[in-house]
Symmetry: C2
């Protein structure tokens, strides 16, 4: 069956949430709980959406998702498409779905006059790193990412 990249709809939310949980497990991070799931739904589909979700759909199945929003570069004076999550469920890897996501994300970035696409990857995720390098992306090795938890 054909795999297509689509905007997530409200009816897809439960399946996407399942994949977000799979990603958190894969990254050994804390997944969203019930309260978080409610906020995610509101922030994805409410009046003031805070991010966008794409899905890789094969009929009624959702095999992966991409979670993105726009940031901004002050020096370029252009928006950046920032990819917060990209995940493909284990049994559907190596089918070219990552490339399909990137093709669509690139189209969206250019449509929105972005100068860059950016994302972070865990340093032990060698498959992802290899995939990103093949795409012509570069690690920003002289920058350190800082976080203050509130």
């Amino acid at each position: 069956m054909k795999i297509t990249i689509k905007k997530a709809r409200k009816k897809d939310f439960k399946k996407v949430l399942g994949l977000i949980n799979e990603l958190a497990k894969f990254e050994k991070l804390e997944p969203p709980g019930k309260k978080e799931a409610k906020r995610l739904f509101r922030d994805a589909f409410g009046e003031k959406a805070k991010f966008k979700i794409l899905t890789a759909a094969e009929g009624k199945n959702i095999l992966g998702y991409a979670f993105y929003f726009f940031t901004y570069s002050s020096f370029l004076a252009k928006p950046t498409l920032y990819l917060e999550d990209l995940f493909i469920t284990e049994r559907s890897r190596n089918l070219g779905i990552g490339k399909l996501f990137f093709k669509e994300l690139l189209r969206i970035a250019l449509k929105n006059k972005c100068g860059r696409m950016e994302w972070c990857v865990l340093d032990w995720n060698k498959d992802a790193i290899e995939f990103y390098n093949k795409l012509g992306a570069k690690p920003l090795s002289d920058w350190i990412y800082y976080r203050k938890v509130l």
Copy 2:
């Protein structure tokens, strides 16, 4: 004279642009040119503002600026205040202006129910790194930041 942190207004733009140029020089990066400056003005003050700017004002002088926007954490299901630029002009460093900026940014982040503040720092910028460590921020040392230039 008292230093206060304020939202940038249209009339501040020229001075802020001067500081953005100073920061680019300091970071050995390409500063915005004339076209970029026009886009920055539109994206800062137009109907669909893409980022926000704070200034450190001392009377009519602007001693520094912070350039920020909101990103989003899928796992926390909360926005993140992302600090794209923080810059204080050389002669005004070590006066506590960085702390004033962070105090105001923290207030804004909490008001917007953010779970985190995040930013990047160049690995040779030891003064900034020391300042961020004192704030209780942590480097995300197991993540690699990737960029694809479009």
